[in-house]
Symmetry: C2
Amino acid sequence: MAKTDTLPPIAHPAREEITVEGVLRALADPVRLAIVRQLAGTEQEIACGGLTVPVTKSTLTHHLSILRQAGVVAGRQEGTTRFNSLRRNDLDALFPGLLNGVLAARR
Amino acid sequence: MAKTDTLPPIAHPAREEITVEGVLRALADPVRLAIVRQLAGTEQEIACGGLTVPVTKSTLTHHLSILRQAGVVAGRQEGTTRFNSLRRNDLDALFPGLLNGVLAARR
DNA sequence: GTCGTAGTTCGACAGTCACCGTACTACGTC
DNA sequence: GACGTAGTACGGTGACTGTCGAACTACGAC
């Protein structure tokens, strides 16, 4: 059967394809918000397994997929590991202040 | 039966009770986002009937109730009319930049 | 009192969504 | 090859949510 050469680098929306509503929807969930906070708390990327969330692996995959589709996080594959990072540049360019406002929240 | 003296001025969360997640949830809907945009586009308050939304009255009531409970909009009763306004001060104080970021969005 | 207008409340219904377990693919190591 | 690990895909289920129409309350004008 066909080999997966070049390994399609995951589907991410281009910057112009990101919508506020999608981003807000993605952020409007406690688990995903926790993920975003963890990613925002470090300069480094975090592998799926390195995220602390109160859900199973499959549910985590689901949440990350939503965050990715919304354009909030980017994923980079390296071996069997997928490194996730915040798309801070894109979000700040499109919705200046939004991310900071969300992260500034105490509750 | 008991008269409604003083007319309980609608239930609004205090500033400290507003949560990011609640606000994000409230904003993560096209109809509610449209309402917020209309309220943000003017200095004046807007009555329910003055809002342009593609839903029926009862659905509009529902959306406004969610926005109110989340602390995004305030409602002031005057006769049979309810005037709505954005709680810009509170939102800016709690989540500086969030509202601006959302409103800055072109899509 | 009667009527019209402004909003709310109350089911009901359909669609979406978070969650899980299981099965699967892909890579690295032995 | 066999095995373990990292993450995804699939199917199912229960809960939530946006939508509506109809009935209702509250106020103002006639």
